[in-house]
Symmetry: C2
C-alpha cells in the first residue's frame, strides 16, 4: 500500500512541476464542505492512504504532511507508516497550522495550488491573507492536479432524488422558503447562496444518494426574493420533483453551471443592494471568488441551518418511533452477540454485517447513517476505527467490544454507541465504563436555563473522567439530521471551540448526541452514546428552564458497571433509564430477547 502511495505522490509531483506549483494541498472535502464524501472526491485518501474523515494533505517536492485532529492520531500514524508523509497533530502544542507552515517554508517566487472547490471559503481566505503577508508567494485555486494525476478516478455520482411527502417532512418548501427569505432579509441581505447539501435537501424536501450514508444530492442553491435557482445534475431530477419545484417557484439548472451563473448574475437587478448572504465556513473558496466584485458578500450563518436543526413536531414524532425500532435492532444484536460469541466465529466485520442486516430488515430502512464502527478490544481505542475484511479482529469470550452505528430511515436518522462485555474485563475497564455511564446520564438529566450552549453543559459528561485525570479528545455531542447527515450543526456539546466550530444556544427541538468515552491506546475503548432532544421545561421568575428527552433505548452493559464508582443518584439515573429501555423496546422483541432484556435492565 505504501509503495502505491509513494507512486501516486510521484505522479502528483509531476503534475505540480508542469504547472510550476511548489506546494499542493488536498483537503478532505467535496465541493460542499461535506463531512462524508463520494468516492469521486476522495483524493486525499487516494494520495495519502489515510482514511479518516478529516484532514488535509500537503505535498511538496521532497516530502508531504498530513494534518488531522485528535480523533485520528492513532489511526493516521498507522496508515501513514512507510508513506514518507509526516503526521501533523492539529491543536497540539507546537504544531503549526497549514497557513503558518507554508509561510515558514515557502520561498519568494514559490506557488501553492489547490482545487478551490474543495477548500472551504474560510480556510481559503485565511490562507490568502496569511500568504499575502509575505511578498512574492503565489496562490492558484483553479488547479485540480489531484484529478489529473488520478488515472482511474471514479465518475461523479448520479442518483435520482426522492421527494418527501409532507407527512414525512412536516413542512412544505414554500413555507420553508418564506422563513429562509425572512431570515435572509433580517441578516441584511437580498440573496442567499447555499452550498451545504443537507440544508438544500431540507429546504427542497428531497433526499439524494450521492454520498454514502448521507442522503444528499450534489447541488447548489441561489435564493432571490422572488425565485430560487437550484443547480443539480439533470439526471437526478425526477418528474415528481420537477413538478414540486415548479409549484414552489424553483428554477432547476444544471449542476455544472453554478460558477458561470454567479459570474453572470445581475445582482443589481433586485433591490439593488447586491448583498449576498453566505456562510464562509460552508461555501467553497472558488464559489466565493466567482461572486467577483459585483456582489457584496454578507457573512452569516445559513438561515437554513438553524431552521433545519430545530425539528418540527412531525419530525420528532417520527424520530421517536424510528429510534425505538432502531434501539430494538441493536438490542437484538447485543443479545445475539452475547449468546453467540465463542460458539461461532465472529469477526469485527461479520458482527457489523450482522447488525447492518438487522437494521435493513426494519420498515422504512434506506441506508446506514455511517459505516458501522465495529471494534474489539484495543481497536476500540481508535475513535473512528473501520474494520476491514481480512485484516480485522476475531471476537472472543473476553474483553469489550464497541459498536457505533446508525441507520437512515423514512422517519429519521439514528446514531448509537454501546460497549459490550464479552467476557472477563479488568477492574480498570469497569471503572472507566462506569464513569462514562455516570457522565452520560448526568448530562442526560441536566436541567438548564435557556441560553445555555453545549459549552456550558459539556462538563457534566466529562467531570467523572476529569476527576480521574482522563479526557476524551473530542466533543461530547453533535447535532443529528432528520433523514439526513448524522452530523449536523449548529448545535453541539463541547468544552472548547476552534475557529471553524459554531457554538449555538440549545433550542427546543434540537437533537444532539451525548457520547463521552475513554480511549486507552493499545488497551481498550469505551463509548456510550445516546441521542437527546432539547425540550422546554418550567418557566418561572428565574427564567425558562430546558431539559433533554432521550431517543435511544438500549441497555448500558451492567456487566461492566461497578456500583462502587456511583453515587446513589447515579444508580437511580441508570435504573430509571433501564426501566424506560424495557418499556420502550420490549414490544419489538422475541420472548427470549425480552427475558434477557429484563435481566439486562434490572436495577443495580
Amino acid at each position: 500500500m505504501n509503495e502505491t502511495v509513494r507512486a501516486r505522490l510521484a505522479a502528483l509531483r509531476k503534475e505540480m512541476e508542469k504547472e510550476g506549483v511548489d506546494y499542493y494541498l488536498i483537503p478532505t472535502s467535496d465541493f460542499h464542505n461535506s463531512e462524508y464524501v463520494n468516492d469521486y472526491f476522495k483524493a486525499r485518501e487516494y494520495f495519502s492512504g489515510f482514511t479518516g474523515s478529516n484532514g488535509t494533505l500537503a505535498v511538496w517536492k521532497d516530502s508531504a504532511g498530513l494534518w488531522t485532529d485528535g480523533r485520528y492520531f492513532i489511526q493516521a500514524e498507522k496508515e501513514l507508516a512507510g508513506t514518507g508523509i509526516t503526521l501533523f497533530r492539529m491543536q497540539e502544542e507546537g504544531v503549526p497550522e497549514i497557513p503558518d507552515f507554508l509561510c515558514e517554508h515557502m520561498k519568494e517566487g514559490q506557488t501553492v495550488g489547490f482545487d478551490g472547490r474543495t477548500m472551504n471559503c474560510q480556510a481559503g481566505c485565511r490562507l490568502e491573507e496569511k500568504l499575502g503577508g509575505k511578498t512574492g508567494l503565489g496562490i492558484r485555486y483553479d488547479l485540480d492536479l489531484a484529478g489529473r494525476a488520478w488515472g482511474e478516478r471514479p465518475g461523479l455520482p448520479v442518483h435520482p432524488v426522492m421527494l418527501l411527502p409532507e407527512e414525512i417532512s412536516g413542512k412544505g418548501t414554500s413555507e420553508k422558503l418564506r422563513e429562509v427569505r425572512e431570515k435572509t432579509a433580517e441578516a441584511g441581505a437580498e440573496y442567499l447562496l447555499l452550498s451545504k447539501l443537507d440544508d438544500l435537501m431540507w429546504l427542497l424536501n428531497i433526499r439524494g444518494n450521492d454520498v454514502e450514508c448521507n442522503p444528499v444530492a450534489l447541488s447548489y442553491g441561489f435564493v432571490t426574493p422572488g425565485e430560487m435557482y437550484f443547480f443539480i445534475q439533470q439526471e437526478e431530477v425526477t418528474e415528481a420533483f420537477r413538478e414540486y419545484a415548479g409549484a414552489n417557484g424553483i428554477v432547476i439548472k444544471p449542476y455544472g453551471e453554478i460558477m458561470d451563473f454567479l459570474k453572470a448574475y445581475d445582482y443589481a437587478s433586485g433591490a439593488g443592494t447586491g448583498k449576498v448572504l453566505l456562510d464562509k465556513r460552508n461555501i467553497n473558496f472558488a464559489l466565493y471568488k466567482a461572486l467577483g466584485g459585483k456582489a457584496e458578500p454578507v457573512e452569516g450563518d445559513n438561515p437554513t441551518e438553524k431552521l433545519k436543526a430545530v425539528k418540527n413536531g412531525t419530525e420528532l414524532a417520527r424520530m421517536e418511533e424510528v429510534y425505538r425500532k432502531d434501539s430494538a435492532a441493536l438490542i437484538r444484536f447485543i443479545y445475539w452477540l452475547k449468546h453467540t460469541v465463542g460458539k461461532e466465529e465472529i469477526t469485527e466485520v461479520s458482527a457489523a454485517r450482522k447488525l447492518d442486516g438487522l437494521r435493513r430488515e426494519l420498515d422504512g430502512f434506506l441506508d446506514l447513517s455511517f459505516p458501522t464502527i465495529s471494534a474489539y478490544k484495543e481497536n476500540a481505542a481508535m475513535m473512528h476505527y473501520e474494520a476491514v475484511e481480512g485484516n480485522c479482529k476475531k471476537l472472543a469470550g473476553e474483553g469489550m467490544y464497541l459498536v457505533d452505528s446508525g441507520g437512515q430511515y423514512m422517519g429519521g436518522t439514528t446514531d448509537v454507541t454501546r460497549t459490550v462485555v464479552l467476557g472477563e474485563i479488568s477492574e480498570e475497564m469497569k471503572r472507566h465504563f462506569t464513569l462514562v455511564a455516570v457522565g452520560m446520564l448526568q448530562l442526560t438529566e441536566a436541567k438548564f436555563l435557556y441560553g445555555c450552549t453545549g459549552r456550558n453543559l459539556d462538563i457534566l459528561a466529562r467531570q467523572p473522567l476529569w476527576n480521574l485525570g482522563i479526557d476524551y479528545k473530542c466533543g461530547t455531542g453533535h447535532g443529528i439530521g432528520y433523514i439526513l447527515n448524522v452530523h449536523e450543526g449548529p448545535q453541539n456539546i463541547r468544552w472548547r471551540y476552534t475557529e471553524e466550530m459554531k457554538e449555538a444556544v440549545l433550542e427546543e427541538g434540537m437533537v444532539l448526541s451525548n457520547e463521552p468515552g475513554v480511549y486507552r491506546e493499545g488497551s481498550h475503548g469505551i463509548r456510550t452514546e445516546n441521542i437527546l432532544v432539547v425540550r422546554k421545561g418550567e418557566k418561572n421568575g428565574d427564567g425558562q428552564f430546558m431539559y433533554f428527552d432521550t431517543l435511544t433505548y438500549v441497555p448500558i452493559d451492567r456487566e461492566a458497571i461497578d456500583v462502587r464508582y456511583m453515587q446513589p443518584a447515579d444508580r437511580e439515573r441508570l435504573n430509571r433509564y433501564h426501566a424506560a429501555v424495557y418499556e420502550k423496546t420490549a414490544e419489538y422483541l422475541t420472548e427470549e430477547e425480552r427475558a434477557w432484556l429484563a435481566e439486562a435492565t434490572a436495577p443495580v
Copy 2:
C-alpha cells in the same frame, strides 16, 4: 428623600436647558471605570437616590430612567419609588439598552450630553455609532452638568500613597514594567495607556486611599518603551514613592494634566508607529478622544490585568495566612452571634459593626474590602443590601442571617459570605441552603483541563439549584485583588457573558470567589462564598489538569444542612472541608470558640 431627588433632577434639567441638552446621562463610574467610587463621583446616586454599584441614569425633559442589572432589581424598585424615575431591568426581555432607547426617542436636532470622563470608551463609542446611524442627533461628551447642578458636591479625595516593600509585593516595578512592555510590544503597540487604578497600583507597588474600601489612588499612566509617565495628585506623592519612582524610570506628573499631555504628545517620536495599546472597556471616552488622530489606538487587554491576576508566590503565601486569620475573625463573630442573639439587642448595623471591629483588631488590617453586607431574613434576598442605621432589622432567635464581608490587610484582600441560622428555619430554607453548599463544594473540588474558563465550570455550582428550577441572577465567581479591589478581572465564573464582560482561561495562581446562592424576594437569601486559588495538577497524555485550593475556612452552618439533599460524595466534601476549617483556624481561637468550632465542623 424622593422630594429631594425630584428637586435635584429639576436643578439638573435647568443646566440641561442652558446648554441645549435634551437627554443627559449619568453613569456610575469615576474617571477610571472603577466599580466602587469616591463620593465626589456619586452623581448617579445623588440624582436618583439609587445606591447600587451599577447603573446609568438618563434624564430628559419630562421623565428619567435608571438602567441597572439583576442584582439590583429589588433594591432599585424600592429606592426609586416616588422619584418618578422608571426602572429599566437590563438583560430582561424587551428592555432596550440605552443607545437603542435614545435612538428610538430622540428627534432630529436633539442632543444627548454626558461627562465623557465618567463613561467608558466602549459605551461611548457604541453610543456614538448608534446615534450616528440617525441623522441630526448631537452628542456632547464634555459636559459635567451633574457637577454644576450639584451644589454641595464633595471635593476630590487626596491621600498620600503607601509604598509596598518587595517582601509584600513579591516583585519590583522594574521587573513588572519589563513584562508589561514585552506584552505591549507583543500586542503590536509602542505605547500603553493605563487608566485602571488597580492595575496602576499593582504596577507601581503602591496603594492609595481615594476610594472607600479600594486601596487605590486616582491616577493615569502612559508607558513608552523608555519611560513611564504617571499622573497623580501631587499631594499624594510621598518622599518614599518619589524616590522609588525615580529609581524605576517613572516620571511623575499632575493628575489633571493627562488630557493635555495626550493631546500634545509626539507619538511619532519613538519607533514612529504611534500605536497606543488601550482597553476600550477600561479607559474613559474623553481620554480616548484626547488621543485625537495623532495616535493609532490598538485595542486589547491591558497587559497589567492578567499579570496582576496571576498572583506570585509571595502574594499567595501572604494571602493564605491572611485568610486563615480573617476566617478566624468571622468564626469568632458567628460564635458571638449565636451565643448573643436573643440575649442582647443586635441589629443588622450593630452586627456588622461587631464583625468589622473584630477584623480591625487583626495584624495588618488596613480597611474593609467593601461595606459589610449584614442582612437578616428577607433583607438577604437583596444581593447587595446595605443596612442603614435607624432603618434596619433587629436580629432575633429565628430565621437566617447573611453576612458578606471582607478586609484589606497588608498581605491580602478577603471576601467571604456565610448564612447563619439564628433559630427555627423552614424545610424549604434547609433545602435551599443545603443545595447551595452542595454546588459550592462541587465547584471547589472540580478537576478540569487547562483551557477551561469560568463558563465551562459555572454549572458545577448551579446544577443543584437548576435541578430545582432555581437560579441566582449573577455570576458564580469573580476575581479578587491582592491588597486591591475585591472584584478584579479578567477571571470569573459565569454561565453567560454580556459584551462588556471578559472570559478568561483560568491560569495557575488566579484567585476567584465561589458564591452560589438562593434569593427569594420577601422570604430569605442564602449565599455561601469561599475564595479559591487555581492550581496546576497532573499533566498527562490527556493534557494539563487544574484544580482549586481553598483560602477561606469558615464553617458552613450545619443547622441548615439537611443530608437528605446530599449524595454521599457531597457529605464527604463537606466533612473534608470542615475538617480543614478546624485545622486551619483553631490556633487563632479561644478555648470556648474552639470547642464550639469542633461541634460546628463535626462530620454530617
